[in-house]
Every structure is written in C-alpha cells, then in structure tokens.
Symmetry: C2
Subunit: 492 residues, 2 copies
C-alpha cells in the first residue's frame, strides 16, 4: 500500500524518508516564508495532545500560565553578556511600524518616517523581557517562589531548516521561575527535567537519557543546563528538552533583589526550561517505519479507525448501525475513534491512508463479519491483524492500546540499548561513531578535547549522565583523568 | 475593604476605574514594550477558560486547528487592494535577521549586512498567508469545505492603547474557511456569529446585539462583516467579535480555484472570524463594580474561595479537616475551589482580596460555625451574605453558582434595555447620545450621513441588526428612506 504514497525507504535515505513522511502524512509543510512551517491539522492535533499533558503536569507542580510580549527591546537582550552573545546572530529585527503606498505605484513600501527609536527583537526566548518584568513583581521572600510558564511562538533565524526539527519560527513552552535560594532553584531545575523525562517516556514512548550539558553546549546565560536526549532510528541523538539553572545571572542583569526572611537583601535565583514542536519531529523519527507514521496511542489524534467493507447501501446501513454501538462503547472507555464511511474512497485506499497516518488500531467490519459476529483488528505497530469475536471488543481494544504503547516504548528502548556501548580508545571511537548510536567514553572535561573530537568525528557530547556507571577513568584522547563516562553521538 | 485598594469609583472616572481594576486585580499590566501588555496569571486563567469553551464549540462544528507563520511577505499583503489599504498603516516590519557587536562598544547593533531582500510583516491578521497556502490544498470540490482555526498572537501598531481593549500585540483566534458555494460560505459566516453570541451570553453573561456592519466599518477585504456588540456600564458599546463573508476576494487575489462537481472551475468562497483577548476587557467592564471584579462563575479561575477564621493552631486544624470534606464534595460536583489558609494574611485582608478578584462565592468557616454546624456564604454579585447549615452545602453552592451566572446576565440585560431607545430626530439624537447607551434610529444608508453623524456626535453605527423592529422609516438626518432602524452608540 504505502508504496503508492512513494515514501523513500529509511535504508535508502533516512533524511528524505523523514521529509516525505512529514509531508505525505499531512503533518506540516514549508511555507512561503523561508524557514517557517505551516503545521497542518493532523500535526497540530498531536501538538495539542502534547500541550494538554505537559500543561497538566506543570499545573500539578504549582506552575501558572501567563503571557509576555512577543517583542524585546534591543537593549534588554544586551544586559546579560553570554545571553546576547548566544542569540544575536539569529534575531529577527523589527525596525519600522508602518507601510505606505509606493510612490512608483508598486504596491507598498516601508515608510521611512516610521522608524523605531529602538529596534525590537522578535523573542528568541524570553528571559530578558520576563526578568525585566519580575523586577516589579518581587520585593520580598513572600513573593517567592514565582512559578510561571508561557506557551508561545519564538523566532531564531536558522540558516538550515528542517520541518519540526529546526525552523525559524517554532511553538514552545518556556517556564521561568524565581526562588529565594540556590538549593530551591536547583531542585526546580531537576524537577522539570524529570517531568520532561516522564513525558517523553510515558507519553511519547521515547526512552531518554537525563544528563548535564558540557559548558560548550550550555544555554547562553545558564550556570548549568540539564537535558533529555533521545536516540533516533538512524542512530543520531536528538535533544528533546532542556532545563536551565540560571543562578543569579538574570537577577543581576535586571537588578532583581528581594528582602530575605533574615532581613537582608539578596539577588533572586532563577530557572528556565522548555520543550518545543521539535518533539513532534522526535516522535516521528523515533517510531515510524517505511509504511508511514507509528504513533503512540497516548498522543495519537485518534486511537482507532473503523472502516466498513460493503457492496451495497443496505450492507452499509447495517454496518453503520453496528459501528455506532462499538463507537459509543469505545468512547465510554475513553478511547478516541474515527469512523470513515466516506463513500468516495475504497477500503484499500483507506487502509493505506490510516497506515500512513499511524493510527494505532484499525478495525474493519464487513457483511460476513456481521453474520459471524466478528471484526478484523489490525495493529499499526506490528502490522499484524486478526479476526476476533465482536463481543466485548471495546475492552480488548482498550487493553490493546496499552499494549501498543508499551510495545512501542520497548522497541525503542531495545534499539537504543543495542546501539549504546562503551568505547575505550579514540581509534575505536572513530570507527564506532560511523555506525551511529550512543558511545559512552571517558573525557577529560576540557572544551579543547570536546572541540577536537567534534571537528574530527562530528560527534558531540550529548550529556554527562546523572545515572548509570559513575566509575572514573582516563580520557580516551588525552589520557587525563575523567570523572565518569559521558554520552557521545552525532546529533540533530 | 475595597477602598484600601484605592479603586477609583466608576462615577468619578470610569476609564481610571477600569485601569485601576485591571492592575490591582492582577489581570494584566503594561510592559516595557510600548503598547504590548503582560497578561498576568489571573488574567490568563480567564483567557484559558474562554479558549476551552470556544475551542470546544469550534470543534463541535467541524473545525480543526492548525498553525500558520507569524510573518507575512510584504508583497502578499498587497495582493488584496482593500486589505492592504486597511492594514498598511499599523504594521510591524522585520527588515533584518542579525545583530552584531557595536564597534563602538555599546552593546549590539543591527547588522547592516543582514538585510532581508523582502521585508516581512508581523501578521496583523492571516488571510493573505493562509490563502497563499490554501492554493495548494484545494484542487477540487472534494477538498471543500476547508474549516480551519488558528490560536495565535497578532500585531497591529496602535497609537493609543488600553489594556486588553486595544493593544499592539494581542492574542486571538482566527477562523479561515473555504467553500464551494456562496450560500455555504454565508451560512458559515452566520453560524460562527451565532457561536460568538452564544459564548458571550451563556459564558460571559454579556447580552449582545447581532448585526451587520455598515460599509465604513467593514473588515478590509470583506464583502460583509457580521458582528456582536456589547454595552458597557458607562453606556459605551464594544465590538466583541466579528465574522466576515469574504466572497471570492482572497481566492482571486491568490488564484485559488477548484474543479466543481459539474466539471467547471470556479474561485473558492471564503469566510474569516475572530475574537481576541479584548473579550477580557469586555468581561471586566460589563459586570464589575467599585469593589472590584465581578466574574461569571462559568469563566472564573476559581468559583469558590474558602477562608478559615481561627485564633489558634488547634482551631485551624479542626477547620482544615472540615474544609477538606467540603472541598472534595464541591470538586465532585465540578465546582472549582481555592482554600486559603495562608497564615501570613488576616481574614479581613483575604475578604477584600477575593472581592477584588471577583470570586463568585466566598465561604467563611470559624470555630463557632464548627460548633453550630454552620458556614457563612457570601455572594460577590449582590455583596450579600448569610449563615447556613453546613449540611449539603455543596448542593446549595452548585445551584447558587447557576443563580449567580443568571443574575449577572439579567442585570446586564436590564441595564442594556434601560439605555436602549428609539430616537426619531437628529436634534433629539444629539441630546440623547450624551447620556450614553444604544440609540435606534433611521439612517439613509450612505457613508456621507454616517460620517457626518460621527463627526458631529462621536457616535458610530454599531450595526444593522438582524432581529427586532424591521419597520422602514426616514433618515433622521436627511429624511431619505431607511429600510430599518440601526444601532448607534459611542464605542470603545
């Protein structure tokens, strides 16, 4: 079926397979604006599911949503030195606020009289505008902690873009919290990392490594960046979420102090953390196959599709009636269902379409099934099908969805395990990195060695893991002492 | 209590009262960026409630969400003549995509080498970018109708801004639909107007007039603009939502045609419709009083607040235990509750605070109440209170919330009725308009007369109503024939 849709197989060209799939499964497409995507309804429905779960987890841990301006005055961005250094090269800049008719009659031109005194930057991230606001919100320890999240669009002018994975504009959430003590801020940073890991594993069915970034890969303005790293089917890693301990850097840049319980004044401690529509790219690349998307049931826009097989209007009417019963029983169990009895398309076309769209379970019901009291159940993850009694089918489906969720995770986990290995010499590293996957190796902790490895092998340190083998050793490149093995990979 | 918060009374300065209230009730504040607001958590929570209800109603009528780029190429905006004419004067324009270190050492400057070939406009509305996309999505009548909505931020460079009511950046939803026939598109336009009216009346408790805008007040690029108009407590009208029938204007501008069922080709018919964070301003101005916000229960971030009255830790512990029971019973009935047992604030402070915040019902529970099996119930809308048996209090509260929702609507409805009247001469009109409210008068249908009335009285035609008195008459200004009375008012 899927060949009709002309998906490039993963083995031929993984990158082209991804691009084909995003387009053909109606997830997103490139827009007329360079680097900006259109997120189509099917892709956006997955984002809405992701948002709902994350938002619930944020609120359960005491965070509230708010909204801050799209624009940041240029001077604000400069207030934290490392921050502006990190973002200045990719900023969309608003310089004027009016158009006027072209005196030569060619549409409209920018009105030179409407030049802004100070240019505005379209937010690439909101630390600066938010900390300039927090200055007025925080006077005393009683105002802390301040636990705020924002769902928003941001813009980073990327030269090479790829749908969902790297786009000039993307959608995300950014949490920005303020605390009275360093300890509390670090605890918050780690709590949000754990929430991201839980979301990735339990909802996206994507196993992730939790760790700390090396100084080279830190967020611009952070003291420490924590991250979750997933592994895609082509053996490349993907950073799926970050949580930053910002120390007092932004409090100092924007002069945000508070009266402590002890009656002194201190700068406020900060965190920020975010995940973006990039997660949709990770979801696609982690599970999908040459036939199309494979979606975990917990994030699928609909979990079950039902397709009638009929030769006459009369047969269809009988099937419609039976399906109505099944749909209502499934919905009562909290299962989302689509019934596609569109008469313009043949069943074969529909089978291929929903396979491409990654719907976890497909049910097919024909005239003979009605006679026999049976129904055909097909699993998207294993591409297997079976004919079952229609009696209590809703209970079976409900359990099957759980099984599929678990199976997809386990498959990704097993794959990751199979391509994660220790490497002890740099020569071995150079050979192994060509095969993809995670390499756990010792590193002397210096930026120089990290940069050398990157230049020679295109591999980066994905993270210094928080769990696992903590045995010290010697750097594979320099032989200098290493505190623990770190994760290397080529990455998106 | 409220005088402690120093709200300017409405009778002294309505506009200042509104400004005070938005700030003091922690709804929103002005940001460091001219004309852009920060929506604070309490204000944003109301927006989330509005979004949830509207989104549900959109989906129930077959619409799907998607996301289109923030930026619009300047040339796109020019493609529909009336559209660019309407928006060119208030556009934020991105001209560059990089900053660099100032060679003079003063922070960063715009990098002149990073000038865009074509400027990008920050979307003031998305018809042009969306219709340029629809061109690729629509080939045949089978692709229609296309029913898409987007939740997004937009920017219109306003010279005079007011929190929620008119800001440079605001949040909104914009629906953009495509249809095979004029009839279908008009039906969609009216359906969405009805959804807005239902939302305004049933959720915001704000009565609205449904009508059509005069040509002067039409959306730039529309054939017909339908609107809902509310009336604020100072007698001024507020446009709360618009639904536009766009005809084939945008299909022609972007060359979007489709193969009809009959095998011919035709341009696609379009609608667009939107409501914004302006609704929060309307909600505040429609119901609130000199003591603070009055929120309808259906949109209140929490519907009930419970405050303990105690002298000792022991008493508090007893009250805590009793409140836990009440909270769980209320939640089981779907009522949202906040229990404020914060020990840093006195009950009197809390009473004033939640009055200011417009929480519909306040419960207070003291040691004597525990002895007597009673609880104090206070209504925010009427500012009355009573002591009741605590038995089955949750059922009473649930009903009381419905009663409050109805009462708030009825109060607004009665006020509107009391200030809506027929006016038959222009002399009378000039006197009456000073008193505020809606004036129903005959108008000859010309832009000239409309402009004269506006210039002389600051009143605009709010809409040509779809329901009510349809008797023809003579224009109050020119004496020419008038098809029906139209609504005039001064407006936000």
């Amino acid at each position: 079926m899927a060949e009709l849709k002309e998906l490039t197989p993963r083995s031929v060209d993984y990158s082209q397979w991804y691009q084909d799939l995003v387009i053909k499964a109606d997830m997103a497409e490139n827009s007329a604006v360079r680097g900006c995507m259109v997120i189509k309804p099917y892709g956006y429905a997955i984002w809405e599911k992701m948002q709902a779960e994350l938002d619930r987890m944020f609120k359960e841990t005491g965070h509230q949503n708010a909204y801050f301006p799209l624009f940041i005055p240029k001077s604000f961005l400069s207030k934290e030195a490392a921050h502006v250094e990190g973002f200045a090269k990719e900023c969309a800049v608003v310089t004027h606020y009016r158009l006027k008719a072209d005196p030569n009659g060619n549409g409209v031109i920018v009105d030179p009289a409407a030049k802004l005194d100070e240019e505005l930057i379209v937010r690439p991230t909101s630390e600066t505008i938010i900390w300039s606001t927090y200055k007025n919100w925080i006077q005393s320890y009683r105002d802390l902690p301040l636990l705020i999240n924002q769902w928003a669009n941001v813009v980073r002018w990327e030269m090479r873009t790829r749908l969902f994975l790297r786009t000039t504009e993307f959608l995300w959430q950014e949490g920005h919290t303020a605390h009275a003590t360093e300890k509390e801020a670090i605890a918050e940073t780690k709590q949000m990392l754990d929430i991201y890991a839980t979301f990735a594993e339990n909802f996206m069915a994507m196993p992730v490594v939790k760790g700390v970034k090396s100084p080279n890969e830190r967020f611009a303005g952070a003291i420490e960046t924590f991250c979750i790293e997933g592994l895609m089917q082509d053996g490349k890693a993907l950073q799926a979420g970050t949580s930053h301990f910002l120390g007092q850097n932004f409090a100092k840049a924007f002069d945000v102090t508070f009266a402590t319980k002890e009656g002194t004044r201190d700068y406020v401690w900060a965190t920020s953390w975010g995940v973006s529509t990039r997660l949709i790219g990770a979801l696609i690349m982690c599970h999908s196959d040459d036939n199309g998307l494979v979606l975990p049931p917990k994030l699928a826009p609909y979990q079950v599709v039902i397709i009638p097989i009929y030769r006459s209007e009369e047969q269809l009417a009988q099937i419609d009636a039976k399906v109505a019963e099944i749909v209502s029983k499934l919905r009562a169990l909290g299962v989302s269902v689509k019934y596609d009895n569109n008469d313009n398309k043949k069943p074969g076309w529909k089978f291929a379409e929903y396979e491409l769209k990654g719907v976890p379970v497909r049910l097919a019901l024909g005239a003979r099934d009605l006679e026999n009291g049976t129904i055909e159940v097909a699993r998207r993850d294993t591409l297997t099908k079976e004919t079952r009694s229609i009696e209590n089918i809703e209970v079976y489906i409900k359990d099957l969805l759980d099984e599929i969720q678990t199976n997809i995770y386990q498959k990704a986990f097993d794959y990751r395990t199979s391509v994660t290995r220790n490497v002890d010499s740099y020569d071995e590293f150079k050979v192994e990195i060509e095969k993809g996957g995670f390499l756990l190796a010792h590193w002397d902790g210096t930026a120089e060695t990290e940069e050398l490895i990157k230049a020679e092998t295109k591999a980066t340190i994905r993270c210094i893991p928080l769990e696992g083998d903590m045995t010290p050793g010697k750097c594979m490149v320099t032989g200098k002492p290493s505190a623990q093995r770190v994760y290397f990979a080529r990455a998106y």
